[in-house]
């Protein structure tokens, strides 16, 4: 007695596959429907290019937060990419295989630490250190950048390691036979061949950095100002939504959805740029 035939299973799987897609479109439609009318209502210029955010007084300018998000993400890249890249080269090229087997899972474990924990360490340890030894209020772009830089490290590391490992051994042998040293081989043969994978890793990290909310709320200070130095505190787009979501009603709520629209656009542009750059890279190699 067969309850489900071949065909019904197939149909079921199709429905499931499309339900994921439907969810994506529903989210997209919902955010756009709630956010776009607000943006046109208040004026694109007033919304995007003003940094006066006082929802209670009817002022909704998110320029400071766009700048804040970009600064914090840039900071995370400055902290995370050199560490991640150097780490990946060392781990993939210099470390014996048995040690890799211990270290790689440990790195992946780092990715599993909840962001609240990172934020907590940032508030308790990093922010006081910055305040006491460098200056400013401590809760700042710098603190957020360092915390985010560490948070995106596992992503960059593990994808970079995989793509360096995937470079055919013959490339290295070829370089060695031409008389290249170990380091010359790495930066002239291995890295260019692994480039697209490494860039994909960096962009995935970038996505995580710009979308991260909890840790950033905890360490960035959330002041709505155009930052003048890395020691100033900033509010990111994600933090703005999460901070005020619980209370927002009416126009204020729509303004937060509109903030979501901007965030969505930034992430879409980033993803698109990433796809294109990877495609170009592959063509050259």
């Amino acid at each position: 007695m067969k309850i489900f035939g071949e065909n019904s299973i197939k149909n079921l799987l199709i429905v499931i596959a499309f339900s994921a897609l439907t969810a994506l479109f529903l989210i997209l439609a919902f955010i756009l429907l709630e956010g776009l009318p607000f943006i046109f209502n208040i004026g694109i210029k007033n919304f995007l290019l003003s940094s006066d955010w006082q929802p209670m007084a009817g002022k909704y300018g998110i320029f400071a937060m766009i700048v804040g998000s970009l600064w914090v993400t840039l900071g995370a890249i400055i902290v995370g990419v050199p560490l991640g890249l150097a780490g990946a080269i060392f781990l993939a090229e210099f470390l014996p295989r048995w040690m890799m087997r211990i270290i790689k899972p440990a790195i992946e474990l780092l990715a599993g630490i909840p962001s609240v924990v990172y934020g907590f360490i940032g508030v308790m340890v990093l922010a006081p250190l910055i305040r006491d030894y460098i200056g400013g209020p401590g809760l700042s772009i710098m603190a957020a950048s360092i915390i985010l830089g560490i948070m995106i490290l596992p992503t960059i590391l593990s994808i970079s390691i995989d793509s360096i490992k995937a470079v055919p051994q013959s490339y290295r042998e070829g370089a060695f036979s031409l008389g290249a040293t170990h380091w010359q081989t790495i930066h002239m043969a291995t890295l260019p061949a692994a480039k697209s994978g490494i860039i994909a890793g960096i962009i995935l990290g970038l996505g995580r950095a710009i979308g991260e909310t909890m840790a950033v709320i905890m360490v960035a200070g959330n002041a709505v100002i155009l930052p003048g130095s890395p020691l100033d505190s900033v509010r990111t787009l994600t933090a703005n939504i999460a901070l005020e979501m619980g209370y927002a009603t009416g126009m204020h709520r729509q303004a937060l959805f509109a903030t979501g629209v901007v965030l969505l656009l930034i992430i879409m542009v980033l993803n698109y740029a990433a796809t294109i750059s990877i495609r170009n890279m592959n063509r050259k190699v």
């Binding site: 007695m1 067969k2 309850i3 489900f4 035939g5 955010w53 006082q54 929802p55 209670m56 508030v123 308790m124 922010a127 006081p128 305040r131 209020p137 401590g138 809760l139 709320i217 905890m218 200070g221 959330n222 002041a223 709505v224 100002i225 100033d232 505190s233 509010r235 999460a242 901070l243 005020e244 619980g246 209370y247 927002a248 009603t249 204020h252």
Partner: protein, 266 residues
């Protein structure tokens, strides 16, 4: 064959669904939503009330004062909790009961030598006119102003009482009473404001115009940073909802509120 089984499963699911709903209906349920400041007290009161009347089931939800008002208006909750000095215009048709009062305390780091602030000084600090502790008799350090997010009940009450505050843009924003307290506890030059109920010894409470925030001073109406906590209902409360509000306002209920650190309404 296949169809039969599917139909059986569907019928079973429907019956199960109905019977579950029926179970829920045997109990009188009340949903209370809103202010996170009053939430722990509401939970405590609800627990004791349910122990007295086992056929009532009370659900307490947080979400903040605005959520409390919204969910009463929409009917999602029977009772809303709000901790605002002035109820917003959309709440003017709701029935409101003041069930408790809560003091707001100005706090600084224990290392700070400043002990008292005048209201005008507080206003100038939060407007960004006073920028250095030196101007207030403290050390020569920049003041790190800590405030709450727009829409917070504590913040709107605070700004409504102090009046004429346009928050200085450099102010650090924290999203709960607890995180404001931690920020001030970690930063020797910070100033913040939190609910009276959660003061601890990692921070120092300031006196305002020479008056400290104690139950006595609030009852005598000498301490000024006090906000009422409202329970809101849509229309006059009926049987089970009324019974619970009466319980909160009864001497018994008020004693519980007092014993847990809030100031009773009466």
């Amino acid at each position: 064959m296949k169809l039969k089984i599917v139909i059986k499963v569907i019928i079973f699911a429907i019956i199960a669904g109905f019977s579950l709903q029926a179970c829920g209906k045997n109990k009188l349920s009340i949903t209370v939503a809103g202010s996170t400041a009053f939430q722990p007290f509401a939970e405590k009161l609800a627990g004791l009330y349910m122990a007295e009347k086992p056929n009532t089931h009370i659900t307490i939800q947080g979400g903040g004062s605005a959520v409390g008002i919204q969910s009463v208006l929409s009917g999602a909750a029977n009772i809303g909790m709000a901790d605002l000095v002035q109820l917003p215009p959309e709440a003017k048709d709701l029935n409101s009961y003041i069930v408790a009062r809560d003091g707001i305390v100005m706090i600084v780091n224990p290392k700070n030598s400043v002990k008292n602030l005048e209201v005008s000084q507080i206003r100038d600090i939060y407007n960004g006119k006073i920028k250095n502790w030196k101007e207030l008799g403290g050390n020569d350090h920049k003041i790190n102003v800590v405030s709450r997010e727009a829409g917070s009940g504590t913040r709107s009450s605070y700004e409504a009482i102090i009046q004429n505050i346009t928050l200085v843009k450099e102010a650090i924003i924290q999203d709960s009473n607890g995180t404001v307290r931690e920020t001030v506890a970690n930063d020797a030059n910070a100033i913040g404001y939190i609910s009276h109920g959660i003061i601890n010894d990692k921070i120092k409470a300031l006196t305002i115009n020479g008056v400290s925030c104690t139950t006595e001073e609030i009852v005598n109406k000498k301490y000024m940073l006090v906000r009422p906590i409202f329970l809101l209902t849509k229309g006059a409360p009926q049987d089970r909802v009324k019974a619970f509000i009466d319980y909160v306002l009864s001497k018994n209920g008020q004693d519980i509120i007092k014993a847990n650190g809030l100031i009773p309404a009466i």
